[in-house]
Amino acid sequence: MSKGETGMAGAFWTIVEDDRQGMPKKVMAEALGEAGRLSGGNVEAVWLTDKASDAGVKQLGEWGASKVWMVENAALAPYRGEVWAPIIAELAGKESPKAIFGPVTSRQRELLARVAARLGVGLCADAVGFAMEGDALVGTRPVYAGKLLSKVKWAKGPWVATLRPNVFRPADAGVAKTAQVEKPSVSIPDAKLKFVERREEAATGLPELTEAEIVISGGRGMKGPENYVILEAMGKVIGAAVGASRAAVDAGWRPHRFQIGQTGRTISPKLYLGFGVSGAIQHLAGMRTSKVIVAVNKDPEAPIFKIADYGIVADLFEVVPALTQEFKKLLET
């Protein structure tokens, strides 16, 4: 197949993150939405997976992908950079996309860095904004623990970038839109990493921290691991993930995967609710792009109040049950 015959040259590509059950994750609506706006609708999805589905393809189409480049192969699971990066680079070499976007997830952070290196182009990781300046893309990304924003430009294309979840406006799903599936012939490199096992986390029944639209965070003020049940109870009512500060993680109250901040997860939910969190700069580094911030702390001088949209100065153990009740009333009527 020669260049441009099958795909639209100059398309914006988005690399699909799926749930390992054949469906693209919700973050793809954001990546496809932003790519669609920047390209005037010239968006394609690239889906490497061991398990695709018609429903998944339909979903990508509704989110605006005009084409899905599908490579479905058992060797693609679990993700391994040395297998995935060459496939995407090879395909990009043939089809000349204008940009290659993916959501920030643990694997795409590594994957797109490797793809950029393979193609010899720049990478803008963890972008929170884009703009076209004439023919050039300008990316905006937080640096220095989110204290400053950096504007970056690529020397040449394709423009490779990862997009922070919950920041970009999702594509409006259009049910009439469909994606055409293309199965390119690509060579699948041998894996060097040998898969041994996957250790599943105990399911919390709550959303994943980095993807959740609402995040509840408990700090040292929670006083002990046993008290997180009151946050989880609130989480069940409002559909929130429950995270923690480093002080709580270091005390052994919560596993590290729940840590929010510079040395933990970066989150950007629509609503962040912090209880007994002081708001240290390293904690803010991981949550300051949250849209609405609520803080409950008994110390009126706690730094978190400086960035909070709403604050209550009180004992969290009085506020949390009352607030959970109030949320229940609101959402059940």
Binding site: G81, A113, A125, V138, L148, V313, A314, F327
Partner: protein
């Protein structure tokens, strides 16, 4: 086994950063510099591997300006055996790919059995150099590792990588690149003896030419740094708990439309 650890000197997170006159870098005066925290996990892990195996060499390497020697010195004080400083103005505007290529050139000269990096440097927060280094070298790589064990004959490392929803464990053939995630270990503090000893250890200065590299223009360049847009002023909700909580929920629903 020889282990190379790539470390970066970064501003301490607690220090204020100000935009410099050029609008695209930070004011360096008054900054406290540290070894990027994830890189300390990498150094610690290298030292533990050496201690466990009872032999080996830990080499710290950085690409950075003259002041970055201090960061190398800290690694030597922790127990690294020697250090390499890629110290050349040709790399002043280095992006992650340029950095990865320079580090790859050092790796080719040193031929370690393992390279450790941090998950991300906390100044540019890219989290890219480790993967790009592996890509340039054509080596296997495991990211965000929470634990590792090297087999007795030094052929394979079993590494557990943090992913959404759990850990994935792999046998990774050596040589390889591993990127340290928090939780891998607790870095040691240098002892007084370590600090004194560090002064006698070698820090080798290396130029681009020594690595067979020229001054490539970076593929990604920073055109501008900006302060964060100010957040609208917040509001402390007063009153007794019952009233405050009601008002909070009302505000979240009606004003902020957040729930």
């Amino acid at each position: 086994m020889k282990i190379l650890v790539a470390i970066k000197q970064v501003p301490d997170t607690a220090t204020q950063v100000k935009i410099a006159g050029d609008g695209r870098s930070i004011e360096t005066a008054g900054i406290t510099w540290i070894v990027s925290p994830y890189d300390e996990f990498a150094v610690e892990e290298a030292l533990r591997i050496k201690e466990k195996r009872g032999q080996g060499e830990v080499v710290a390497v950085t690409l950075g300006p003259e002041r970055a020697k201090e960061a190398l010195r800290s690694c030597l004080a922790m127990g690294a055996d020697r250090a390499i400083h890629v110290n050349d103005p040709a790399f002043n505007d280095a992006d992650t790919l340029t950095t990865a290529r320079a580090l790859a050139a050092v790796v080719k000269q040193e031929q370690p059995g393992l390279v450790l990096v941090g998950r991300q440097a906390i100044d540019d927060d890219m989290g890219a150099v480790g993967g790009q280094l592996a890509e340039v070298l054509g080596w296997p790589c495991a990211y965000w590792i929470m634990e590792e064990t090297i087999d007795a004959d030094g052929q394979t490392v079993k590494a557990a990588r943090q992913v959404e929803g759990g850990l994935e464990v792999f046998d990774v053939p050596l040589p390889a690149v591993l990127a340290a995630q928090k939780g891998l270990n607790e870095p040691r503090y240098p002892t007084l003896k370590g600090i004194m000893g560090a002064k006698k250890k070698e820090i080798k200065d290396v130029k681009a030419g020594d690595l067979g590299l020229g001054a490539d223009a970076p593929q990604l360049s920073i055109t501008k740094l900006e302060a964060l847009p100010p957040r609208p002023p917040g509001r402390i909700i007063d009153g007794d708990i019952a009233t405050a909580v009601k008002e909070l929920v009302r505000s979240l629903r009606e004003d902020a439309k957040a729930i």
